[in-house]
């Protein structure tokens, strides 16, 4: 097996090679131009990056060497040392070593080079170079703080054994000086024994080591406290010797000379005064910005010093080694190649052309067949042609894939940021990353860092509470920020979530009103998810104080912009007290997108499929015009219409007695319907930006070349929507009274069908209509082209003329009347929403149920669901708590959102109700709660169940059956009715789908339903699941009538 550094090996090799190239060329330049700061900075940067990337892949030796180089360069950069040929040489030597290591790694060998000698050399040079250029008055006296620090350190006493004493005497007799060195290593330092060994080796090079404390054979991390002592005999000065000990993370070196005096026939050891030979106490903690500006060794002149000649035999040795290293020096063979995205795009372009050119052969083939030439040649031609087409397509998808890179490299950057931010804000935060292998278009990966950073900052600064606060809410003291990525369909989702306090919708509301971003009556009808959108406004911030991390309201705006630029979308989910989640969705690749092709007259336009919600056909009579806007009522939601022909400035081709094709597009939380002439089917298209040769045009995202060589323009839904919405808002901001002055024909439609109260619409358009439901025929978009056959002509003037027999005055009064009613109702509804939160009164009216009756049902539900909880509790043998059941009228549309996270997977068991009461009972459980419920039921260990097998399914169905029956029994008892549950059905799907499958069974007469809903909790407050009872409207009344007092 070959040696490998793991999945990042290729990235590392590529980077390291680049950095080395840069280092080499810059160093060469520096040799020529030693005073150029830019060059030094470049070298410094490259060394720094190399250090980080080496450490990242676990090449600690290499990282250490780079660190030493960095230290040396720091001195150069800070002008505390002069660039000498010696420095340049040692740096080149380092590069050779690094190159050797990279080469070995790329060939699959284990890099086992011993770097200690070169490291020692770098250290020696960096300290000697700085010493030769004394820095003034730096730490001539150790600061008081340093002294106190040292007090705590247990400095061992030096005592000598007899043989050591002999050794000492011999050394002194031979004319060497004898020193005692105390070296202090940072207590957090890793692998102290390696450092000690390093010092020992260096010391042995400069003299004889007489004694080490702890002893040499016991130099293990456990034995090394912060201080190591060496007794050395050497011909060199104490400063020179001390340099041998000056390795990484040594923050202080003290030394004293030992002399041997003869007194009364005995030898007495005399310790001279201690000198501080090196002290980095000030910055020894700061690993990253380690600035070893070695203090000037304090030399006590009184101590007599020999000045022996420098012996540099160690240098010679390393030189020899380096020659062999240099001869090995060759470019490492890498398995990756860096290619600019531009080149790829160009290739992609050409391949696209190839595909198109190839389609020409098909025509040629058809022609050939007609000529009736030699069949074998024609067949051969066909084979070759098909082969070529296949190759071209493979090429295309291959090039497309090269643009994809894993997002993990972006995620890994944030560990540090989270750590630092958490530390600064006094919070405890852990970062969890998921789905690092998810591949995204290179372009997205390149720019996604910034938005992620802003979101993470926001989460930590605003979202996450202080530990004390978290404790109060019984949350884990350590907060979690999760970065995750996954692919879903043709989208890549990147999420940032935290378990902090969530967004404060009320405060955002207040702020939005303060800043006049929206009208009060509009905001009243907006639900929280719409409200959250405001935080993307430039300069929008609810932070009371601006910190240096966030609060200026810039960040989220940047997020939105970047995401939009990458054709992505962003949504926010937030639960007060539980946390916030930002979900970004990006198209799989930016180069090629699926699109729906539509026609307006003869012009073809492409609508990116990611923006399309559905395509429908409506009849012209369903279109209502309100305040100059055409709208339809689409499943009780107001949908504004935009005529694409008008947007692109030509006249359409539709007749009004046919169904008009409408493409419903959405952007963010908004939707509009685009009226087109014809739908032409789905196509994969390559986006070519228009600003490459011209400039960006509002409403267009670019152009695409179709198979026949013609150009189709791609619509930019987001900018179209912005335009439509701003036009609408302009209108609604204008005094609505002015609308009255408008020509009455505009309102003909309204006056004929008086405005009726409808459900509050989430759209910003407060105008309501009840023009009757349009006939919606969903059409499936086929893969190929969808020819519409007939030519349609649609009368552009949709505004019907006033009917004969009604005079203009009459119409006017009617209009005024209607508008007045409408305004009153609007005000009423707004006031209601604002004051009581009871927005469902009108629904009660529709189902004809009184408040009194509703209360009775509430009591009934209470009793029933209590019984259910009891049986559930006895089944799983744990206490089950439940929330007070909510009995409520609500729009069926909002049911899924009410029951859980729409985009999360749930387990649901539903049972249709038979007998006197019809309806459905649904027990829905989040997927993971479902697993733990199974664990509890079967008394498995926690986390045992990982999937729902048949046993699990049937037991969950049984649970529902039991719980449901106890609820129904309670109902039956109180009403005297017969209610029996039917066979339970198990569903494992998204909440939306679960609810949909129930609604299909259910006879939904109204758009709203009476729901009885409660949440079950485990004894430890975890959500177990929801129980929902959904009776049919008629049954509700029947039920109410039979409730016994």
């Amino acid at each position: 097996m070959t040696f490998s550094l793991g999945e990042y090996q290729d990235v590392f090799l590529e980077e390291a090679d680049d950095q080395l190239q840069e280092l080499n060329s810059n160093l060469l330049q520096m040799e020529q131009d030693p005073d150029n700061d830019d060059i030094i900075n470049n070298i410094f940067r490259a060394a720094h990056s190399l250090k980080s990337s080496a450490a990242f892949v676990g090449l600690n030796d290499l990282s250490d060497l780079s660190h030493k180089m960095e230290n040396l360069l720091q001195g150069v950069r800070d002008k505390t040392m002069k660039i000498t040929p010696e420095i340049i040489n040692v740096l080149f030597k380092c590069f050779d070593h690094i190159n050797g290591i990279i080469g070995k790694v790329s060939q699959g060998e284990k890099p086992d080079d011993d770097l200690s000698s070169i490291i020692a050399e770098v250290v020696r040079i960096s300290s000697s170079a700085s010493a030769s250029e004394p820095v003034e008055s730096k730490s001539s006296e150790p600061a008081a703080g340093k002294e106190t620090k040292n007090k705590n350190i247990d400095v061992p006493k030096t005592t000598f054994e007899s043989d050591e004493r002999k050794h000492l005497k011999k050394a002194v007799d031979s004319g060497m000086n004898c020193y005692e060195l105390s070296v202090f290593i940072d207590e957090d330092a890793q692998m102290k024994w390696v450092k000690a060994q390093l010092m020992l080796n260096s010391l042995k090079g400069s003299g004889e080591v007489i004694k080490t404390i702890p002893p040499e054979n016991m130099l293990t991390d456990e034995n090394i406290n912060q201080c190591i002592k060496f007794v050395v005999a050497s011909n060199e000065t104490i400063e020179e010797v001390a340099k041998d000990c000056d390795v990484d993370l040594v923050y202080r070196i003290e030394g004293s000379q030992i002399t041997l005096d003869k007194k009364d026939g005995k030898y007495i050891l005399t310790y001279h005064a201690k000198e501080v030979l090196a002290d980095y106490t000030d910055n020894h903690k700061d690993e990253k910005a380690d600035k070893p500006e070695p203090s000037v060794p304090e030399i006590q002149q009184s101590v007599p010093q020999k000045q022996p000649d420098k012996i540099e035999n160690e240098d010679d040795e390393t030189d020899k080694k380096d020659i062999s290293a240099a001869s090995l020096r060759k470019a490492p063979t890498l398995r990756t190649v860096k290619v600019s995205v531009d080149k790829l795009d160009e290739l992609l372009n050409n391949v696209g052309e190839l595909v198109i050119a190839n389609s020409g052969f098909f025509r040629l083939y058809e022609d050939l067949k007609k000529i009736n030439a030699d069949k074998t040649i024609i067949n051969e031609f066909k084979n070759r042609m098909e082969q070529m087409s296949r190759i071209a397509k493979d090429l295309q998808s291959g090039i497309m894939k090269t643009r994809m890179v894993p997002i993990g490299q972006v995620f890994s950057r944030f560990n540090r940021l989270v750590r630092d931010l958490a530390k600064d804000s006094g919070k405890s935060v852990q970062l969890i990353t998921r789905g690092e292998d998810t591949e995204l278009d290179k372009k997205v990966v390149d720019v996604i860092g910034e938005p992620l950073m802003h979101m993470i900052r926001n989460s930590i600064d605003h979202g996450i509470e202080l530990p004390a606060e978290r404790e109060k809410f019984k949350k884990d003291e350590t907060a979690t920020v999760t970065l995750s990525a996954h692919q879903g369909g043709n989208q890549i989702y990147v999420e940032v979530s935290d378990d902090g306090k969530g967004l404060n919708a009320d405060r955002i509301r207040k702020k939005a009103l303060e800043r006049n971003l929206v009208l009060p009556e509009i905001i009243a009808n907006m639900d929280d998810s719409d409200i959250y959108e405001f935080i993307f406004h430039p300069g929008f911030s609810t932070a009371e104080k601006v910190t240096d991390v966030s609060g200026r309201g810039v960040g989220m705006n940047v997020v939105k912009e970047v995401v939009t630029e990458m054709n992505g979308s962003i949504t926010i989910e937030s639960e007060p007290g539980m946390g916030t989640r930002f979900i970004m969705a990006f198209p799989l690749t930016l180069a090629i997108i699926p699109a729906i092709m539509v026609k307006v007259q003869k012009e073809t336009y492409a609508i990116p499929l990611s923006d399309v919600i559905e395509t429908i056909k409506i009849s012209a009579k369903d279109v209502t015009t309100i305040e100059g806007h055409e709208v339809i009522n689409l499943r009780s939601e107001i949908l504004s219409l935009l005529r694409l022909d008008r947007f692109v400035g030509i006249d359409a081709d539709i007749i009004d007695d046919t169904k008009i094709p409408v493409v419903v597009v959405g952007y963010g939380n908004r939707k509009i319907g685009l009226i087109v002439d014809r739908l032409e089917g789905k196509l994969e298209i390559v986006i070519k930006p228009l600003d490459q040769n011209y400039k960006n045009i509002e409403g267009l995202a670019g152009a695409s070349i179709l198979g026949d060589g013609s150009i189709s323009l791609i619509l930019d839904i987001s900018s179209m929507m912005t335009r439509v919405i701003s036009e609408q808002e302009k209108l609604s901001r204008e005094d609505r009274r002015s609308v009255l002055a408008k020509s009455s024909t505009d309102f003909e439609t309204i006056s004929q069908k008086p405005v009726k109260e409808n459900i509050p619409s989430a759209s910003t358009d407060t105008v309501r209509t009840n023009a009757g439901k349009p006939v919606i025929s969903e059409i499936n978009i086929p893969e190929g082209v969808l020819p519409d056959g007939k030519k349609n002509i649609f009368d552009k003037e949709t505004t019907p003329v006033a009917k004969a027999g009604i005079s203009n005055e009459e119409v006017d009064t009617q209009v005024k009347e209607v508008l007045r009613n409408f305004r009153n109702e609007l005000h009423e509804s707004v006031a209601k929403t604002l004051n009581s939160g009871d927005s469902d009164s009108h629904m009660k009216k529709d189902i004809a149920i009184t408040d009194d009756q509703l209360r009775k049902i509430q009591i009934l539900a209470n009793v029933g669901i209590m019984k259910g909880a009891e049986s559930l509790s006895s089944m799983i043998g744990r206490r089950v708590d439940l929330a007070i059941p909510e009995v409520k009228m609500m729009p069926i549309d909002s049911l899924p959102a009410k029951l859980g996270q729409i985009d999360e997977i749930y387990v649901g068991v539903y049972m249709p109700l038979e007998g006197d009461m019809r309806g459905t009972i649904l027990f829905s459980i989040p997927e993971d709660s479902g697993f733990s419920l199974i664990d509890d039921l079967f008394a498995f260990g926690k986390g045992h169940t990982k999937e729902f097998n048949d046993d699990a399914k049937s037991s969950l169905s049984e649970v529902t059956n039991i719980v449901g029956s106890s609820v129904l029994n309670a109902f039956a008892e109180r009403t005297g009715l017969t209610i029996t549950p039917d066979v339970p059905t198990f569903v494992h799907d998204y909440m939306q789908s679960i609810v949909d499958s129930i609604l299909v069974l259910h006879n939904v007469e109204n758009d709203y339903a009476l729901v009885m809903d409660t949440e079950f909790y485990y004894e430890d407050d975890r959500v177990m699941g929801n129980l929902l009872i959904l009776p049919e409207a008629k049954s509700v009344k029947y039920l109410v009538e039979h409730i016994k007092e």
Binding site: E603, L690, Y694, L700, I711
Partner: protein, 181 residues
């Protein structure tokens, strides 16, 4: 028609002219211009900026752009805008004929097409015969012109292509004119 064909044509037609020019001022730099005629006025663009000349291609209309942007064309996978020079200069709309051409210009990194009625020839001219754009040509704004070339009694207006496409003030001005007209 390729540039080479034009050059050949030029050699056939204008040998005399060329010689005259060379005799007149042999010390100046020779500039080659691709010329076309609009309403009896001759215009020229520097041949060095001409990428190629196309017969009238299929042009896709570009909505929400000034009127003089005729649309975009597909030049071997490259989508480039085409400027209707007549419209840009405020002349009345022309008719597409067999002679109608698109001159593909390279302006910086961009490629732009100029829709013209015809391409007449390539002329060589000594740059000492080019005057700064002091003479105002009827209907054509000064900003579009880099100079006026004199050649045997002919006047050739040399266009600044980049301004023809991108000068926004001019766009506004022209639109005002065409609206009032």
């Amino acid at each position: 028609m390729t540039v080479n064909e034009l050059l050949n044509k030029e050699n056939d037609d204008n040998t005399e002219v060329k010689n005259n020019e060379n005799d007149e001022a042999s010390d100046g730099k020779i500039v080659q211009l691709v010329t076309f005629t609009l309403d009896d006025v001759e215009y020229g663009v520097d041949i060095l900026s001409v990428h190629e000349i196309l017969r009238y291609p299929e042009i896709t209309r570009l909505p929400n752009t000034p009127k003089f942007i005729k649309g975009v064309i597909n030049l071997r996978g490259n989508v480039l805008p085409v400027v209707d020079v007549r419209n840009r200069f405020g002349f009345k709309e022309g008719v597409v004929t067999d002679l109608t051409r698109v001159i593909v210009i390279e302006a910086g990194e961009r490629q732009i097409g100029l829709l013209v009625d015809n391409v007449s020839q390539v002329i060589r001219i000594n740059d000492s015969n080019i005057d700064p754009p002091s003479i105002l040509i009827e209907g054509v704004s000064e900003a579009f012109i880099t100079g006026i070339a004199r050649l045997k009694g002919r006047l050739i207006v040399i266009l600044s292509v980049e301004n023809v496409v991108f000068s926004d003030e001019e766009i506004a001005e022209k639109q005002k004119i065409s609206m009032s007209a």
